[in-house]
Symmetry: C2
Subunit: 194 residues, 2 copies
């Protein structure tokens, strides 16, 4: 029997990516998904991720995983971080660059945090993936969040300009997901069953 | 019998100010205070305030009020807003100015939101006070948050440079508190009792 758990997300693209990665390897893991509107708290990326996963487990009554993405500016000591979605909505690609006009460094890192809870009352474990790069004027399709303004170190391309295989290979989400996969596949089957 | 309710805050200065204002007028309102660490959600200032007050009422079992402060940049369409405390901690007074270097307008508004819940399960009502001004290089004592970089319109002084009476007379908090006071004093005594 394969391991089952619920990925709480309303994002079909993320679900597809997570399903693909977790079905790889010797112990394929089956994922159910549920779209829930869970309020996120303010705080560090780790606090935000753990709180959301804890609530997801309480609501679903299942083992579950959640995902959070942050974009952290070195000049801002890690902010906007978990609040990047609000800045993206409010100031757009150009604004995300303009916010750094008064600072010498455009360095930034993309941070993905998956959280896993074995079920209601079980403290979530987090799996982080970080990709270093810099904030640049938008290049490539602007369809997916801030992908067009983030250029991972050493690539010369923004996330938006990369073929999806290249992006998955070096992305913050890919790295975090790989850690989650390794952990889940190391669990005895019973302990991650819903 | 005067009306009683709990102000949930860990900030002694805010408590003192609120006690003073609410004890004025024909129907003085007595305030108890309780210091609780209530996680704040992400969202609009109104969502953040209502959620916190709702939880405060659930935890205390009483009628209660909570307070939230935001600093909103016109160039950022209202952000950092409720997240200003994190930006203040991360980039300081100079950074709060530098973030606007790439934008033509330095206009900003300070927003205070008091929320009142009549008790557990009772939908919070909010009272907002807004003061328009601009972000300027720090002037005056730097002891109280971002007061040194916010200059209310038409004053030529930052909050930090003003005598406290002048500040209370025009501040976002003073305006919100005045609305709260008027509301609470208009209630029949029974309905706001704990």
């Amino acid at each position: 029997m394969s391991k089952r758990l619920v990925f709480v997300t309303g994002n079909a693209n993320k679900l597809k990516e997570v399903k693909e990665i977790l079905s790889q390897g010797g112990h394929p893991i089956e994922i159910d998904s549920q779209s829930l509107d869970i309020p996120e708290i303010q705080g560090t990326t780790q606090e935000v991720a753990k709180d959301k996963c804890r609530r997801a487990a309480e609501i679903t009554g299942c083992a579950c995983i959640t995902e959070d993405t942050a974009l952290c500016y070195a000049a801002f000591n890690g902010l906007p971080g978990p609040y990047i979605k609000y800045f993206m909505q409010s100031v757009g690609h150009e604004g995300l660059n303009n916010m750094l006009a008064g600072f010498p460094t455009k360095a930034a890192w993309a941070l993905c945090t998956f959280a896993y809870s074995a079920g209601p009352g079980s403290d979530p474990i987090i799996f982080e993936g970080r990709t270093d790069g810099s904030i640049v004027p938008a290049r490539g399709p602007k369809v997916f969040g801030w992908d067009a303004v983030f250029e991972p170190e050493g690539t010369g391309l923004t996330y938006a300009e990369m073929p999806s295989e290249q992006k998955h290979g070096l992305s913050h989400r890919g790295k975090a997901l790989e850690k989650l996969r390794a952990y889940l596949q190391s669990l005895p089957v019973e302990s991650s069953s819903a």
